[in-house]
């Protein structure tokens, strides 16, 4: 019997993490959680959008639109509206980038950037802490390396996250199709597809960060609390570092900010892959680095 390779063992752990999620129906709960977050937030946004459309029609003395979404679409594409937005953001190039996408896609992205780190914090790190707390990990570490276990758990959770995120994007698209029948469904589908990857890159960094954090505690409840505190704490820190950058020691603030996933969110908003690519790469590197930092503590720890 040949000892399986490191990567093979990692794959077996990842596959087990995924199939365990399916067996326990945890996968369904996670998918429903992402889907629910997407549908709830998107539904609220669409309600506001449609109210706006009706108010606009009323203001112009026009009959209510037969096909909801037609006015919004027309407005979104009008030069006057683009000029209005350009005046607001003071950048013609950024306007082209933003207005190039459907408002539904932008709303989905904006909301998902907000709730994805929170959902990752609620779902993923506890899986590590649970196994450390109840000793299940000991059955694995006499057979496979601790790094295999860490990476396997991460990859399993990544797969679950990817499926849940894709499901939430699909749900948002279906809802938009239902409530904005006149809008361009194909354009929305394309936009949502692209933005799912961007949000995925953002979530990847948080997944690595929070699963890394999970290696430092044995208590599942403490782990979840720590993960949520990390998400909100780093958001606050990133905001403060941007807000208070200046002279002297504060010149270092942007540099420190580069170590936080939140610093790369603006890069992901841009249309050009010259911006998106480096931001996504940096987020991937951050995710892996934070995960390995967590592993560094776990590597020599008593189990």
């Amino acid at each position: 019997m040949k000892e399986p390779s490191f990567w093979r063992q990692t794959g077996i752990v990842a596959l087990n993490e995924w199939s365990d999620a399916l067996r326990s129906r945890r996968a369904i709960v996670v998918i429903l959680l992402y889907l629910g977050a997407a549908l709830l937030t998107m539904n609220s946004f669409l309600s506001v959008l449609l109210r706006l459309e009706n108010e606009l029609a009323e203001l112009l003395g026009l009959p209510a639109a037969q096909q909801p979404g037609a006015v919004v679409d027309a407005l979104w594409r009008s030069d006057r509206f683009r000029g209005l937005v350009a005046g607001a953001v003071r950048s013609e190039s950024l306007v082209s980038e933003l207005v190039g996408h459907s408002p539904v896609v932008l709303a989905f992205a904006g909301l998902a950037f907000f709730y994805t780190p929170i959902l990752v914090a609620l779902v993923a790190p506890v899986r590590v802490a649970e196994e450390l707390a109840n000793g299940t990990v000991r059955y694995v570490t006499v057979r496979a390396s601790r790094l295999s276990w860490t990476l396997g758990k991460f990859l399993g959770q990544l797969l679950l996250f990817a499926v849940a995120l894709a499901a939430s994007a699909f749900g948002a698209w279906l809802l938009a199709r239902y409530r904005l029948a006149a809008s361009d469904a194909w354009l929305q589908a394309q936009g949502l597809f692209v933005w799912t990857f961007r949000i995925g890159a953002y979530g990847f960094a948080f997944l690595g960060l929070l699963m890394g954090v999970a290696h430092w505690t044995r208590s599942p409840s403490r782990c979840t609390a720590l993960a949520l505190m990390t998400v909100f704490g780093l958001s606050l820190l990133s905001w403060a570092l941007e807000r208070y950058e200046g002279d002297g020691i504060r010149q270092l603030f942007p540099l420190v900010n580069q170590l936080l996933p939140q610093a790369y969110r603006m890069g992901l908003w841009r249309a050009s892959y010259a911006h998106v690519g480096p931001a996504a790469l940096a987020l991937a590197a951050l995710g892996i680095s934070y995960l390995l930092l967590g592993y560094a503590g776990f590597r020599r720890r008593d189990l």
Binding site: P4, I12, T136, R138, Y139, V142, R143, S145, L303
Partner: protein, 316 residues
């Protein structure tokens, strides 16, 4: 004697308290080794240190002749039943065993068939697909024992393997351990000394983080130099003293077990000659003899090294 496991001056400290204190310990290859000790003696810590779950502060460990535990060298060769570790509660027994078997390098098919076979052996074939959380404590314990024998382990460490099992399953697991343990090294930590007597051929006593005594079961139980008489009532001190004085042996009475233990010099007596000498005197003293056993019970051997409060002794 080749050692499957060797500790040299191994210490493991939790805070200020030493769980293992410069422990020297040798487990001969191919033995079924019973590890005995009071709560907190260091048995579980010794097993965890052996399998790399805990890292000792000092000392050398040689496991299967290739140094301390390293999963690259020992993965699949060493198996462990941890005392207080839970199996994944969401999975079922078959899937969990397959997962562990695959980590050890078995193909999917081999893992499946071996997992099914082991579950059959631990009488859980009909519960193989039930979630582990729905199984009783004893059933889960049997799954934990089964996972130790996946693949071809050379050394298996079992921490309290029979606790929580019903008497029928205890007997069955004992037979399974004997069968699966043939040709490999088994280390069993248990407080059930009777079970260790039945399972093991080598015994080690642990106390305060050290292995205080170790040897073949026969030697530990004094099979060649002791006979235990189970009697129906306690003999008097005077009778014990006078009888021991007349013969050239030591007599000790264990009040807890109603056992009169006679230790004799091997060059002066055989069990038969001792019986010929002592039995008439026991009968004459009006003591009813319930049973005669060569050597002493493991429990007596263990307790005699720990605490003599319930025994009184006299020698010539």
């Amino acid at each position: 004697m080749t050692a499957a496991l060797r500790f040299e001056q191994v210490s493991k400290r939790f805070g200020r308290r030493y769980a293992l204190d410069q422990c020297d310990w040798v487990v001969p290859e191919g033995t079924c080794y019973g590890l005995v000790g009071h709560n907190g003696a260091g048995k579980t810590t010794a097993m965890a240190v052996t399998t790399g779950l805990l890292r000792p502060q000092q000392g050398q460990i040689d496991l299967l002749g290739v140094g301390p535990f390293d999963v690259a060298r020992h993965g699949g060769r060493v198996a462990l039943l941890p005392q207080d570790a839970l199996l994944p509660s969401d999975g079922n027994a078959l899937d969990v065993l397959q997962f562990y078997a695959r980590l050890q390098g078995l193909t999917a098919r081999a893992a499946r068939s071996q997992a099914a076979e082991l579950l059959e052996r631990v009488h859980l074939a009909d519960r193989a697909r039930n979630p582990l959380r729905t199984l009783s404590h004893g059933m889960r314990k049997r799954v934990m024992i089964a996972q130790c024998f996946l693949g071809q382990p050379e050394l298996v460490l079992l921490d309290e393997p029979l606790s929580g099992l019903d008497p029928y399953e205890v007997a069955h697991m004992r037979a399974l351990l004997k069968e699966k343990g043939a040709g490999i090294t088994l280390i069993i930590s248990s407080h059930n000394l009777h079970e260790l007597e039945l399972c093991c051929d080598y015994i080690g006593f642990m106390r305060n983080g050290r292995c205080t005594r170790s040897g073949p079961l026969d030697t530990i139980m004094g099979n060649r130099q002791a006979v235990t008489y189970m009697v129906d009532q306690a003999p008097s001190h005077e009778w014990i003293e006078s009888t021991a004085k007349e013969g050239e042996f030591t007599l000790r009475y264990d009040a807890k077990d109603n056992a009169l233990i006679c230790e004799y010099p091997a060059d002066a007596f055989t069990p038969a000659s001792l019986n010929a000498r002592l039995l008439p005197q026991l009968l004459k003293a009006g003591l009813g003899i319930i049973a005669i056993q060569q050597g002493q019970r493991l429990e007596q051997a263990y307790l005699s090294g720990q605490d003599n409060s319930s025994a009184f002794t006299s020698s010539h």
